[in-house]
C-alpha cells in the first residue's frame, strides 16, 4: 500500500499481505495503483496527507482526555445553564441500549426483515410523541429543535399555498435564525411578533397571522415564561395560519398537549428527555402533526403491517413522500435523521412512565419556585414559569456570569446575547439534578457578585 507515513491502525483494516496479493491476482492487476488509474493524472493527489501522525489507542485516549479536561462541564461547575439544552438526568439504561451494536451500527431500516428492532422502537417512539403532544402522526425524528421549525414551515407552505411565516420573538432565537435561513429557498418571508412583558400578546399574534401560512410560538417560551398558549393558537387559527407550538417534552407531564388546544403541529428539541448536553448535539428534533398533514411530513415514518404469515411487523411507510422516490418533488431532502437519539428519548419515557414525567415536572417547578424565593434579584417578568426563571441583574448579566464562574458557579444564560434591551436579564435553569442546597449556593454567589 502507500508505504509512507505511519501504518494504518491495527484492527481497522483486516487484509494480510497474502490476502492482498491473492485479491490483486483475482482482479488481474499488478498493484493497487492500477485500480486508481481511472483518476485522470491532473487530479491525482501524489503526496502523503499532511495530517497529524497516527496515535495508538491508549495514546489517543490520553489526548482526548486532555482536550476534554479543558472544558468546564456540568460536573466541574455548578451550572444553571439552560436556554434549550438542559442538564436533566439520563437513565443508565439509555447508555446500555444506545451502545448495543445491533442498534448502534445499523442504518436506516430499508430492509424490514433485518430491522424489526429499530422499526418497532421508532413506532413506539412515534406513539409516545403523539401521546405527549396530542397529535396523530409523528415522524421518526428531525435533526434538532431548530430544523423542525423550518420543516413545519415547508409543510405549511405546501398546505396553505401562503408564504408568510409568523414567529413569536419568544421562540428560541436559534430556531428563528434557522427559519430565516431556510425561508427564502421556500419562497417565504418571516414576520416576528415582539414580546409584551415576557409573553406574546394573542391579539398582536393574531393580527400578524392574518393570511399567513404558519404561526409558531414556544411553550414554555425562551424566557422560561408560560405563554397564553391556547389563546395564541386560537388567534393564529382565526387569522388563517396553522398554529404550531414548540414545546419541551419534559414539561408535558404538567402542561397541556398542543393538540388539545388547537395546534396543527407540535415541534421541539428532544434533548431534555434522554440525551446528554454534548455541546449542542447530536440530539433529536421531533415533529408531530394532525392526520391531515401525514402526506406532507418530512423524513421517515414507520407503520404497522403484517407479514406473509399474518404476524405483526413494521415497515417504513408512505415512502413516496421521500427524496429517494419523489426526488425534486419530495416533502424534504432528509435521509439521515437522529434515530439513535430518539431511541434515547423512548427509553427514558419508558423509564419514567406517566408518573415519573409528572414528578419530573413538579420537581423542576418546585426548584424554580424555591429559586425565586432565594435568589436576591428581582424577577424580570411577572409570569408563571416552568423550569427556567429570568432575573433582573444590576449590571450586564454577561458580567455577572463572568464573576460567578470565578466562584465555580455558572449562574445561567445572559439573554442579552440574543435580545436587545435584555442585557440585564439572567435566565436560570433548574433541572431535577439541582438541589435546594445548590440553589442556596447560587443565591449566595449571586448576592456576592451583585453586591
Amino acid at each position: 500500500m502507500s508505504g509512507q507515513g505511519s501504518p494504518a491502525p491495527a484492527g481497522y483494516l483486516s487484509l494480510t499481505d497474502a490476502d492482498r496479493e491473492a485479491m490483486l491476482e483475482a482482479i488481474g492487476v499488478e498493484s493497487v495503483d492500477a485500480l486508481f488509474e481511472q483518476i485522470p493524472d491532473g487530479v491525482r493527489f501524489d503526496r502523503p496527507l499532511a495530517v497529524p501522525e497516527a496515535l495508538p489507542e491508549a495514546v489517543l485516549v490520553r489526548h482526548l482526555e486532555e482536550l476534554a479536561g479543558r472544558n468546564a462541564d456540568t460536573g466541574r461547575e455548578l451550572s444553571f445553564l439552560g436556554m434549550g439544552i438542559y442538564d436533566h438526568y439520563v437513565p443508565a439504561i439509555v447508555d446500555t441500549f444506545l451502545s448495543r451494536g445491533e442498534l448502534l451500527t445499523a442504518y436506516t431500516p430499508y430492509q424490514p426483515e433485518m430491522s424489526q428492532g429499530v422499526l418497532q422502537a421508532i413506532f413506539e417512539y412515534q406513539t409516545a410523541i403523539c401521546e405527549l403532544t396530542g397529535m396523530d402522526v409523528s415522524n421518526a425524528s428531525g435533526y434538532d429543535g431548530t430544523t423542525v421549525a423550518a420543516d413545519a414551515c415547508f409543510i405549511a407552505r405546501a398546505h396553505t399555498g401562503r408564504s408568510r411565516i409568523v414567529l413569536a420573538e419568544t421562540l428560541h432565537p436559534m430556531a428563528r435564525q434557522v427559519v430565516k435561513t431556510y425561508a427564502p429557498g421556500f419562497g417565504m418571508d418571516v414576520v416576528e411578533v415582539p414580546h409584551d412583558g415576557g409573553t406574546t400578546d394573542p391579539e398582536r399574534f393574531g393580527e400578524a397571522a392574518r393570511d399567513a401560512a404558519i404561526a409558531i410560538f414556544q411553550q414554555p417560551n425562551a424566557f422560561g415564561c408560560l405563554e397564553p398558549a391556547p389563546d395564541l393558537a386560537a388567534a393564529a387559527a382565526e387569522g388563517g395560519a396553522l398554529p404550531v407550538a414548540h414545546v419541551d417534552l419534559a414539561s408535558l407531564g404538567l402542561l397541556e398537549a398542543p393538540g388539545n388546544y388547537g395546534c396543527a403541529m407540535a415541534i421541539g428539541e428532544g434533548q431534555s428527555i434522554g440525551n446528554y448536553q454534548s455541546y449542542g448535539g447530536p440530539h433529536y428534533g421531533f415533529l408531530a402533526a394532525r392526520s391531515e398533514f401525514i402526506r406532507r411530513m418530512p423524513g421517515r415514518i414507520v407503520g404497522e403491517t403484517t407479514d406473509l404469515e399474518g404476524k405483526r411487523g413494521f415497515v417504513l411507510t408512505l415512502q413516496t413522500r421521500e427524496q429517494h422516490i419523489r426526488r425534486e418533488k419530495a416533502t424534504s431532502n432528509m435521509t439521515t435523521n437522529q434515530t439513535l437519539l430518539a431511541l434515547g428519548g423512548l427509553i427514558t419515557f419508558c423509564w419514567l412512565g406517566p408518573e415519573g414525567l409528572r414528578e419530573l415536572g413538579e420537581t423542576c417547578t418546585a426548584l424554580a419556585g424555591y429559586a425565586k424565593g432565594r435568589v436576591p434579584l428581582p424577577l424580570a417578568f411577572e409570569r408563571p414559569t416552568f423550569k427556567e426563571v429570568a432575573f433582573r441583574t444590576p449590571v450586564d448579566a454577561r458580567e455577572i456570569v463572568r464573576r460567578a464562574r470565578e466562584h465555580g458557579v455558572h449562574p445561567g444564560y445572559p439573554l442579552g446575547r440574543d435580545y436587545e434591551g435584555l442585557d440585564d436579564v439572567l435566565l436560570v435553569a433548574l433541572t431535577e439534578k439541582r438541589t435546594p442546597s445548590d440553589i442556596d449556593r447560587l443565591a449566595e454567589v449571586l448576592a456576592e457578585v451583585t453586591a
Binding site: L81, E113, F123, T147, G187, E256, M334, T339
Partner: protein, 488 residues
C-alpha cells in the same frame, strides 16, 4: 413480540425522580394537562428485556457483513464511543462561555484542519447535521455568492441522472430549478449534453464522484472547465469520499463546495438511521458566506465567531453535532496519514468482489470500479423471474445484510454493493459464495427464493397494506375514534 405499551400495567414504574420537601407551585389551570399521557408503566427489568429483545431483532455491522451501497457501513471503532462519553465532552453545555469550552473548540478546529487537507479547500463549516443538510447549505452558499456577484438570475442546478434523490430534493428546497444531464455508456457525464445545458442561467453542478455507479468520472477536468468558463460553481456530494481519501481531492478536481458525511467516511455509527454529520468545505471566495458561527483560532485560544455579516445564517442549533465530531476526530487521529490506506483498501475490496461476481450477474458498466459497484439482476428476472428484491431477501438467510437495491435508477434490477475497507477476505469470500449460490438457486429453485427470507423474525411484510391504511402509532383502546390515524 408485544409493544412496550402492551406490557404496561397501571402502577408499575422503573425510574424515580428526586423530590424535595418543597412546595410545588400550581400550574395555572388554563395551561395544565387534563389527562396524563399514556406512557408505558413497566418495571426496569422489563424495560431492559424489551429493548434487549428489540436489539436481538435488529442487524448491524456488529452482527455481520453489511455491504449497503452508498452508505459506507464500515466498522465503528469503540474507542470513539469512549471518547464521546468523556464527561468533559458529554456534559458540556453548548452555551458555555468559550473560555470554558477550549477543549471542545480546539477539537473542532483540529477536525477542520484535517477536513481541509482531505478536500483540498481552505475553509470549513461543521454545522450541518447530515449530508443532506450540507447540500442545502452548499446551495444557499451558491445563492449568496451569485447575489454578491450581482448575478441573481443564476437559478439552474445541473445534476446527473445517477444522482442521489437528495440532490434534486435539495435543489427544490432552496428554490433552484433542476436540469438533468445524461450519463455515457462508460458511466461518465455526457459532455456534449452538458455543454448544451450550461449557460448564463446556470448556478452550478451537483456531482457525486465517484458516481453512484462507483465509477470515477474520467472527464472531471473538462466538466469543471465547462462550468467555470460559464461562471458557474461545482458542488461535490461527498457520499462516496471513502473511495479517494489521500488519492484525489475534490478541491483539486475543481469543486468549489464539498460536503463530507462523517457517518460514512469517518465512522460515526449510523445509529439505525442517524445521527450523522455533514460539514461543508469551500473556496476562499465562498468563505464569508459560511454559516454562523465559525471556529476561530487566536494564538493558543479558540472562540466561536458570531459576527459574520455576509453569512447565509444558521442552519442548525449551536455549533453542530459535537458528539459526532469527537468520534470522527478520534477516527482520523487513529489513522493519521494512513487514511489513504483506508480508501485504497476499500477500492481493493470492491474490485475483488466485482471480479468474483461479474460472470454470475450482469455488470452494466464493465470497468474497474472504485469503492462500490452496481450489478444487475436483469438476466435472472428475464430467465427465472427472480428480481433484485428476491436476491436481497435471500442474502438475509445467509446472514448478510443486502446491498442497496433498485438504485441508481439508470440500472434495471440494480444491486449496489459497497464492502468498505474493514472486512476480512474470508467475509468477502462468504459474500461471493452466497451471491453465486443465489444465482444458481434462481435456476434450480426459484420458488424458495421467492419465499425468502425464511430465517428472520418476520417473513416478507405487506407494504401495500401499511401504505393504504397507515397505522403509525399504537391505538391504545380508542379504536373507532374517527379523526385518529392509528385507530384500528
Amino acid at each position: 413480540m408485544d409493544l412496550i405499551y402492551e406490557k404496561s400495567r397501571p402502577g408499575r414504574r422503573a425510574g424515580r425522580v428526586p423530590t424535595y420537601d418543597l412546595p410545588v407551585p400550581e400550574i395555572p389551570p388554563e395551561f395544565a394537562r387534563a389527562n396524563p399521557p399514556r406512557l408505558p408503566e413497566v418495571p426496569e427489568n422489563e424495560v431492559v428485556r424489551h429493548f434487549t429483545a428489540l436489539a436481538d431483532r435488529n442487524f448491524g455491522i456488529d452482527t455481520g457483513f453489511y455491504p449497503l451501497g452508498s452508505c459506507t457501513m464500515k466498522h465503528n471503532p469503540r474507542v470513539n464511543e469512549r471518547a464521546a462519553a468523556l464527561p468533559g465532552f458529554r456534559d458540556l453545555h453548548p452555551l458555555q462561555e468559550d473560555e470554558g469550552a477550549q477543549g471542545a473548540l480546539a477539537l473542532m478546529w483540529e477536525l477542520e484542519q484535517i477536513l481541509i487537507e482531505v478536500a483540498g479547500l481552505p475553509a470549513v463549516t461543521l454545522q450541518p447535521a447530515a449530508g443532506s443538510q450540507g447540500e442545502l447549505t452548499g446551495l444557499m452558499l451558491m445563492r449568496a455568492a451569485f447575489a454578491d456577484r450581482g448575478e441573481p438570475g443564476r437559478n439552474v442546478i445541473v445534476t446527473p441522472d445517477t444522482a442521489h434523490g437528495t440532490n434534486p430534493a435539495s435543489v427544490t428546497m432552496t428554490g433552484f430549478e433542476l436540469a438533468k444531464v445524461a450519463t455515457t455508456d462508460r458511466g461518465n457525464l455526457d459532455l456534449d449534453d452538458l455543454r448544451a445545458k450550461v449557460d448564463d442561467r446556470t448556478a452550478g453542478l451537483m456531482l457525486t464522484n465517484p458516481s453512484t455507479l462507483g465509477l470515477f468520472d474520467e472527464g472531471i477536468e473538462e466538466v469543471a472547465q465547462i462550468f467555470h468558463d460559464r461562471g458557474a460553481l461545482l458542488y461535490y456530494d461527498g457520499a462516496n469520499l471513502n473511495a479517494v481519501v489521500g488519492r484525489s481531492r475534490p478541491g483539486d478536481m475543481g469543486f468549489d463546495i464539498v460536503h463530507y458525511n462523517l457517518h460514512k467516511t469517518f465512522s460515526q455509527p449510523h445509529g439505525g438511521g442517524g445521527p450523522g454529520g455533514g460539514p461543508v468545505a469551500v473556496t476562499q471566495e465562498l468563505e464569508p458566506f459560511l454559516p454562523s458561527p465559525t471556529v476561530v483560532r487566536d494564538g493558543d485560544a479558540f472562540r466561536l465567531e458570531h459576527d459574520r455579516p455576509r453569512s447565509i445564517g444558521r442552519v442548525r442549533g449551536f455549533a453542530g453535532p459535537f458528539g459526532v465530531f469527537v468520534r470522527s476526530y478520534a477516527f482520523m487521529r487513529a489513522y493519521g496519514p494512513a487514511l489513504k490506506d483506508m480508501s485504497e483498501t476499500a477500492v481493493l475490496n470492491a474490485n475483488y468482489l466485482l471480479a468474483q461476481l461479474k460472470d454470475a450477474y450482469e455488470l452494466p458498466y464493465d470497468r474497474l470500479c472504485m469503492h462500490e459497484f452496481v450489478l444487475s439482476a436483469r438476466a435472472l428476472k428475464r430467465e427465472h423471474g427472480i428480481t433484485a428484491l428476491d436476491v436481497a431477501k435471500r442474502l438475509m438467510d445467509h446472514g448478510i445484510h443486502p446491498p442497496t437495491i433498485y438504485f441508481p435508477l439508470v440500472v434495471q434490477e440494480a444491486l449496489m454493493i459497497e464492502p468498505t475497507e474493514t472486512e476480512t477476505k474470508e467475509r468477502l469470500d462468504e459474500f461471493v459464495a452466497a451471491m453465486r449460490s443465489i444465482a444458481e438457486e434462481a435456476a434450480t429453485d426459484p420458488e424458495t427464493l421467492k419465499q425468502a427470507p425464511l430465517t428472520r423474525p418476520v417473513r416478507r411484510l405487506d407494504e401495500v397494506k401499511a401504505a393504504k391504511q397507515p397505522v403509525v402509532r399504537y391505538a391504545f383502546d380508542d379504536a373507532g375514534s374517527p379523526d385518529r390515524i392509528g385507530a384500528r
